[in-house]
Symmetry: D3
């Protein structure tokens, strides 16, 4: 499936932490560059997400803010 | 200001495209790794965003999805 | 690509309206059941979205609110 | 209350699963067409959400992505 | 309609600025406390939003970040 | 850091409730005007959020809906 999302950032799963309903998945995009996703436990199970697996972080442009020092 | 957002990705502004009310700002995080943000024109003006400027993409963990091939 | 998003709703593109930077895409999921997406013009062009085309609305569970009468 | 949200999809609550702070509510919009919402437990309690109850999924257009095969 | 959204902040419309597809609506919640919403032009028209009108800003808890000095 | 987010609402932390992975933080912006944020437990720990602490609610304009009676 091709997505309208402007940001599809490939990486590797660094960790998966499941809560009661919500899980946190940490992706490493490049050495030292990590992204954390908060998704449902159900999604973790459906996709069979495990550490070391290739995966992408997908982010809609309207969900990205800009900060300057 | 320190933020609760889990994802604060430093980079350099590659382009700024203003529309009538909404602007698209493209950041380069690393060579070939870009992130697009859709923000208000007003924010572009307030922050004085221009190409080549250091800036960060800020993304809440709950706005990140995961995709696997 | 398999997605963590809990909501992938298949339909047909009913209309595409481009603004200066932001486009509105209306999908018909079933007769009388429509969903509107606000995405970048660039995404419309990249995906070549046109009326009558099969497409899905993809929505993260954390972006869905519930309302009761 | 009338809402700016472009997507107000009526259905029936299929299931309510509460976690420690976050609940998942599944709505059936039409036979076989379900939508999952991730909301606070507090909202579940305030609205008194239970299986079989009529309810709507409310989604802002800027939170909808488009995918094509 | 009763909403799961945790944040329903009543105020008065201070300004409405329409773009080509996307509008910015500024609400005053209290003297000096304003909130800006980016919504579709279509929503502005459907709700008939005008300056001086009572209206509420509605925000899902998962869309609120916290910052500390 | 200066942010593109149009809504940076200063207040005081009224309560912090941690779940297994997700926490709810309630801010009081003015007497009787509260905002609830759903953030990661990790963010609560990183920022050291406690009741009575000054903090701001940060909300992107595209995450604000408008409702009228």
């Amino acid at each position: 499936m091709k997505l309208s999302a402007r940001n599809i950032l490939p990486g590797t799963i660094f960790s998966v932490t499941k809560g009661t309903t919500t899980a946190h998945v940490v992706l490493e995009l490049a050495p030292g560059l990590i992204v954390t996703a908060s998704i449902t436990n159900q999604a973790v199970d459906d996709l069979g997400l495990v550490e070391g697996q290739p995966a992408s972080a997908i982010i809609k442009a309207s969900d990205v803010m800009i900060g300057v020092a």
